[in-house]
């Protein structure tokens, strides 16, 4: 398992730079090397360039919102699994995201172990096999 993690392609999308860079560093300490972008537009560009297995997507960002990114992805890259991050809890937006086909959602602040669990499940769902 642990050996495979370096092959996981994870994209972290959040405008909160301090949060996302720290989270990325913590993930890398756990053998995951995520790519990091800070807005929706950039995220889509990166995904088009090379599709990740899992996108961890903040819902509330300036400019393009997480849900818009999700909607676009559902068409262009249906195989990509999306874990939504929200500061709001189980609000309508999160429900809407689930309906749009997000893999799951998590409420900030998140527990790193929970996140790892979710990512692992999402990798399974993405059909990644070692």
């Amino acid at each position: 398992m642990t050996l495979d993690r370096d092959k996981w392609r994870i994209l972290l999308v959040d405008d909160e730079v301090e949060f996302v860079s720290t989270l990325a560093e913590r993930l890398s300490l756990r053998d995951i090397e995520p790519e990091v972008v800070h807005d929706g537009q950039e995220a889509l560009a990166r995904i088009h360039a090379r599709a990740p297995h899992v996108v961890i997507l903040d819902m509330f960002m300036p400019g393009m919102k997480g849900l818009d990114v999700l909607r676009t992805l559902r068409f262009s890259h249906p195989q990509v699994q999306v874990i939504l991050l929200t500061g709001h809890g189980a609000t309508r937006d999160a429900m809407e995201g689930m309906r749009l086909g997000a893999f799951d959602y998590m409420v900030k602040p998140i527990n790193i172990d929970d996140l790892l669990k979710k990512i692992t499940e999402a990798m399974d769902a993405a059909g990644f096999t070692a």
Partner: protein, 587 residues
């Protein structure tokens, strides 16, 4: 628990500045509609109704009274007119008969016979038998000397040349004199007929008639004692005794009415000032006027015309109108007041829910804003711990890790707070999700922990473990439970007890009860509690809590019921379906 955690959940009215502001607002609203306004309004409407209803009624009554008065007048007048006309005819007949009898004698018998006392007496005797009232008769020659005479007095040879009737007869051919007493000391009249003899000389036949005959005719009118009837001559000299206006041959004390041979009825004032009617007629071919005076008396007075039935009707109608107007306006104004109050309450409720939703939005915003930096702290601390874990042992490494754990714990606590706030904010959303009733109850109860501690109220939860998750709206259920608990808190005294329980009713249903040992409700109150705006908390209640709760529970396919005993307490029972959209719960 921190104060922060409670602020959004505690009802607005129960503490702090929001409560004071709300109370102030309510006071303002009450000031806006002073009770005197309704009283004034009511008085105005009653006055108006009375004005439009009673005024025409009074006018009608007055008109009715007047019509009645004229009818009575006519009814009063007509018999008097008829009586006078009839009596006039009798008088006319009386005069005509006697005049023609005398005329007949004058023309039928030769002068020689008439001038002979013996023959005249025979003739007179026949006439007397035919016509009553004749007293005597005399034959008077051209020079006015009575040649022959038959009668009780010794009048033969008397000279009448200077008598006015002698001259009148010379002028008219025949003449009836006024009443006079003359020698005889009792009233009588003379019927005088003049005739031209074969010898070319005028002679005169004169018969006197006892006017007690008049009295008899007038007595035959049968008039009442307060009335008067009499005969006058054209100059106003009484020809018969009058009860009230003088004796025989005296002038009447009022001017003669205008000449008319038709019976006239005119208004008249009696000597003692009473209203009366006077009927009179000039008797044709004579000097006489027949007159009758009848006081209007009791029948005509206001008192006599006053009709008890009409008056009772009027008074009854006015009273009825008054009553109806009073009742009607009472109802009307009460309704107006009620709708004003409802509007005010609705306004209060809207305001309250607006306040709640803006608090909700604020809470959501704050939670979001705080969650992001919290997330950073969380990650930074997490990274520190990760990095420390990679370091070899160094002094106080354990203490560092402890500090980091403490930070993580604090972050977790903050996270709980923001989640509570978000849970409150979620009330505003309609959202069916899978929920644990027990969790919702726990969360709702936690909002009231501070108040229960402060008021020493025992709030106990006996929640059955392992209840199935139900598909329902978390926010709305929370609102329902909050309403129930708020009501229970309002019902109990300090030191009271409130017990919340859950159970599995059947496969498809869970049951929830909220029981208090508070003031309870009368049956009358129980009948109305689910009605919107029904409240016994004058000034502080909206009366919306239970009606909204009822609506929510019904919409969620559930049922709500209560049992209550005054002074013992109240239990609300709610049944909720496990699956959303399944048929209603049977209670």
């Amino acid at each position: 628990m921190t104060r922060m955690e409670h602020s959004p959940g505690v009802p607005a009215g129960s503490h702090g500045s929001t409560g004071q502001a709300a109370a102030q607002q309510r006071a303002d609203l009450h000031d806006g509609v002073p009770p005197t306004r309704y009283r004034l309004l009511r008085r105005k409407i009653v006055a108006l109704l009375l004005g439009v209803a009673v005024a025409p009624l009074c006018v009608l009554t007055v008109i009715n009274y007047q019509i009645y008065q004229t009818i009575v007048a006519k009814e009063f007048e007509a018999p008097l007119r008829a009586l006078v006309s009839k009596t006039k005819n009798s008088f006319e007949l009386f005069f005509a008969e006697r005049t023609s009898a005398v005329s007949f004698i004058a023309s039928a018998y030769p002068v020689e016979k008439l001038s002979d006392d013996k023959a005249l007496a025979d003739i007179f005797e026949v006439m007397r038998q035919k016509f009553s009232g004749f007293v005597d008769m005399g034959f008077i020659d051209e020079r006015g000397r009575q040649v022959s005479y038959v009668g009780p007095y010794d009048l033969k040879g008397k000279d009448y040349a200077d008598q006015p009737w002698f001259r009148e007869a010379a002028l008219h051919g025949s003449y009836i004199t006024d009443v006079f007493t003359g020698l005889r000391k009792f009233p009588h009249i003379a019927i005088v007929v003049r005739q031209l003899g074969n010898d070319g000389k005028w002679w005169t036949l004169r018969a006197t008639v006892d006017t007690r005959q008049y009295e008899r005719l007038i007595a035959a009118m049968g008039i009442s004692p307060d009335s008067d009837a009499f005969l006058l001559n054209k100059h106003g000299i009484l020809q018969t005794d009058s009860t009230y206006y003088g004796a025989l041959l005296q002038p009447i004390p009022f001017p003669m009415p205008r000449t008319s041979y038709e019976t006239q009825v005119v208004d008249f004032k009696t000597t003692d000032g009473q209203a009366a009617l006077m009927a009179y007629v000039y008797i044709p071919d004579s000097e006489y006027v027949l007159m009758a005076i009848k006081p209007k008396g009791a029948a005509f007075s206001t008192k006599g015309l006053f009709r008890a039935d009409l008056a009772i009707l009027l008074v009854a109608s006015v009273l009825l109108i008054l009553l109806v107007a009073y009742k009607l306006t009472g109802d009307l104004v009460a309704r107006l007041k009620q709708s004003d109050e409802r509007r005010e309450l609705a306004f209060r409720h809207v305001e309250h829910s607006q306040k709640l939703s803006s608090i909700g939005r604020l809470a959501a915003g704050v939670a979001h804003e705080i969650n992001n930096p919290l997330a950073i702290i969380n990650e930074k601390a997490g990274l520190m711990k990760d990095l420390l874990a990679l370091e070899p042992e160094f002094p106080k490494k354990d203490r560092f890790i402890k500090q980091i754990d403490a930070i993580a714990a604090a972050v977790a606590r903050c996270r709980n707070i923001t989640h509570r706030m978000l849970g409150f904010a979620r009330q505003m959303d309609v959202n069916i999700e899978s929920i644990q009733v027990n969790d919702v109850l726990k969360e709702t109860a936690s909002f009231l922990e501070r108040e229960s501690a402060y008021r020493n109220i025992e709030l106990s939860l006996s929640l059955t473990e392992g209840l199935p998750a139900i598909e329902s709206d978390r926010g709305q259920l929370q609102q329902v439970f909050l309403n129930m608990l708020n009501n229970a808190f309002a019902a109990v005294n300090d030191g009271g007890a409130i017990a919340v329980a859950t159970w599995r009713q059947d496969d498809d249903t869970v049951g929830i009860s909220i029981k208090d040992n508070g003031c309870g409700m009368s049956e009358e109150v129980q009948r109305h509690v689910f009605e919107p705006f029904f409240t016994t908390k004058k000034g502080t209640g909206t009366g919306l809590g239970l009606s909204i709760s009822y609506g929510i529970i019904k919409r969620l396919g559930g049922d709500i019921a209560l049992t209550s005993k005054p002074n013992l307490g109240t239990t609300f029972t709610i049944l909720l379906p496990v699956a959303h959209g399944q048929g209603g719960v049977q209670s």
